[in-house]
């Protein structure tokens, strides 16, 4: 039985909360499972039967779905539009272009079909503008939700979501609305409105002229609305979502970095290794360096007295020994033998003392330069010495 329109409207108003619950269910899960009604009845009462008899819902297997018109109504009143993929919106490009071509080419043809085509063009343009508005509203809501992050999704997901909205919805929608892009639908609508503007003034049939006029003013208004939508996209949505993407990226970067802070190559800075001549601290550091060597306390170094056997050269004794040996063929041989006999080993110092006997006036010396030098060994040195003969002075 067909219900009265007022009955349906009253039903919708009375059970609005229940219908919103079902609407959300469908949006989140894709459809409403029939078992939902069991949970649902406790809270919202037995309305399942009316939902189907008023054709608010329709059954699809084990699930139910809102009928198209009611779904659209709820989208409209709740301002919760399902985002349309821009490629879906793009379909208007070809439908509007086709209709316009048919109107332009058949401008002198049958009036009835021309009137019908103008009406169709009007409704296609209307649907197009509405789709863009719905999408912009939805995208704005999504973006703000992403920004406030009430669902506490993690940063990686947030970046992915922001990138997803930008790449698949916002940027392509912006291209559709971009007036500087020759192939954009907005530009097409502008071309159409120029053509319609002429026809609304000079078309010979008044009814058609009025239709053209209605379409023209609608297109002018649409152009204005689309520009507004485009501004929201470029001025608000894109920067907002771009910022979400950037901020989230930064935080993602930091969180990832904090997992392995010592294993990551960080930005290079200057490693200040030394003072340079321009440094203000150079003077003080240099002064510190020098001062460490300036010892202001007197240092007294006391040398330990070491008892040593002092050897005193007894010249007279050795002179007498030498005189007793006269004549001596080799002075240094005699000196070494004397010292070795007395001290086991001749010390250099003692040998040099004995050498002073050579300068005594009591002895005559003879030295043959042709003779080879001989080596003698002291405790410290091996000395190369000449062979010197010694005679007693005055006696041959």
């Amino acid at each position: 039985m067909q219900a009265e329109p007022k009955t349906i409207l009253n039903f919708l108003a009375t059970h609005f909360d229940a219908l919103v619950f079902l609407f959300e269910k469908q949006n989140n899960e894709g459809s409403i499972h029939l078992r939902t009604f069991r949970e649902f009845e406790e809270e919202f009462g037995h309305i399942e039967q009316q939902l189907f008899s008023y054709k608010i819902l329709r059954k699809i297997g084990e699930d139910a779905e809102f009928s198209g018109e009611i779904y659209n109504l709820f989208q409209f009143v709740l301002k919760e539009f399902k985002p349309m993929l821009p490629e879906t919106i793009e379909k208007y490009n070809s439908s509007i272009s086709n209709l316009f071509r048919l109107i332009r080419d058949g401008i002198n043809g049958d009036k009835l079909i021309l009137a019908k085509r103008i009406d169709e063009l009007y409704s296609e343009a209307f649907s197009f503008v509405e789709s863009v508005e719905k999408n912009t509203l939805r995208l704005l809501a999504e973006t703000r939700e992403l920004k406030s992050n009430v669902t506490k999704i993690d940063y990686k997901q947030k970046v992915e979501k922001a990138s997803f909205w930008i790449d698949y919805y916002i940027q392509p929608l912006n291209n559709i609305l971009d007036i500087s892009h020759a192939q954009s639908i907005v530009n097409k609508l502008l071309d159409i409105s120029n053509f319609i503007n002429i026809k609304r003034l000079n078309f010979h049939d008044e009814t058609i002229r009025k239709q053209f006029e209605k379409l023209y003013f609608f297109l002018i208004q649409s152009n204005h609305d689309l520009l507004y939508q485009s501004k929201i996209l470029t001025n608000e949505l894109l920067p907002l979502i771009e910022r979400i993407r950037t901020e989230s990226l930064i935080l993602t970067g930091w969180i990832e970095f904090l997992k392995i802070p010592n294993k990551v190559e960080v930005p290079k800075l200057l490693k200040v290794l030394r003072d340079n001549p321009y440094s203000d601290e150079m003077y003080y550091h240099a002064k510190d360096f020098v001062m460490q060597f300036q010892n202001i306390e007197d240092i007294i170094i006391s040398e330990e007295l070491v008892e040593t056997d002092m050897w005193i050269f007894n010249k007279e004794k050795y002179k007498e020994d030498l005189l007793n040996k006269m004549p001596v063929n080799d002075f240094f041989e005699w000196a070494i033998e004397s010292l070795n006999k007395e001290y086991k080993m001749a010390e250099t110092e003692k040998l040099f003392s004995l050498t002073s006997l050579l300068f005594e006036d009591d002895f005559d010396k003879e030295f043959d330069p042709m003779n080879k030098h001989v080596f003698i060994q002291t405790t410290q040195l091996k000395l190369k010495v000449p062979k010197i003969k010694i005679y007693k002075h005055g006696i041959s």
Binding site: G253, L269, L270
Partner: protein, 186 residues
């Protein structure tokens, strides 16, 4: 040969590891003589001059540079804690005045205690005060009174690092997801 004006100051500041900021008069002189200073630092000390729109600084090609790592850890922890506190961390890092006590509280309540305690510059209140002095000397922060500071534009070096790192990581994640998918396909 005639050197640019303020040559000594420019060289002293940069060689002390300072960031030369745009609001410094010497920054303009450096910018006007970019080629000269680039080759001057390269030829004299083998240092690289990094001249950005907001600041300039020198880099050495020393790989074990601990200061930069400590700064990254400080900013990373601060960003994380500010965000956790419900604040817009980028706005805060860009414009806000930080009180030492506020940062102390964040660090004391942080879940990154192990990392904080193992870092010589950040481990306790005293170390952090010393660290702020170093950062201030290098113009990475600007002190306000006894207990406050704000970051200078030099922070961009580290923020850019975080973005690059995240992109590298995300790319890695994407690659591994792709690899997983392709292995399923096979």
């Amino acid at each position: 040969m005639e050197y640019p004006k303020q040559h000594k100051d420019i060289v002293s500041d940069l060689m002390a590891g300072k960031f030369l900021l745009r609001n410094d008069f010497n920054f303009d002189i450096l910018k006007q003589n970019k080629d000269f200073y680039t080759s001057f630092f390269k030829e004299s000390f083998n240092y690289g001059l990094q001249l950005e729109s907001e600041f300039a600084y020198l880099i050495s090609f020393e790989t074990k540079e601990q200061l930069s790592r400590d700064i990254c850890i400080l900013i990373a922890l601060l960003s994380y804690e500010l965000d956790k506190d419900g604040k817009n961390f980028m706005d805060q890092l860009s414009y806000a005045l930080f009180e030492y006590d506020q940062i102390d509280k964040y660090f004391e309540g942080s879940s990154y205690q192990e990392l904080i305690k193992s870092n010589k510059q950040l481990k306790d209140v005293e170390s952090r005060r010393m660290f702020y002095r170093t950062l201030s000397n290098r113009n990475i922060i600007e002190k306000e009174g006894e207990n406050q500071f704000r970051f200078t534009s030099a922070i961009k070096v580290f923020i850019d690092f975080a973005v690059d790192f995240a992109q590298g990581k995300l790319e890695q994640a994407t690659v591994s997801i792709d690899e997983d998918t392709s292995s399923i396909d096979e």
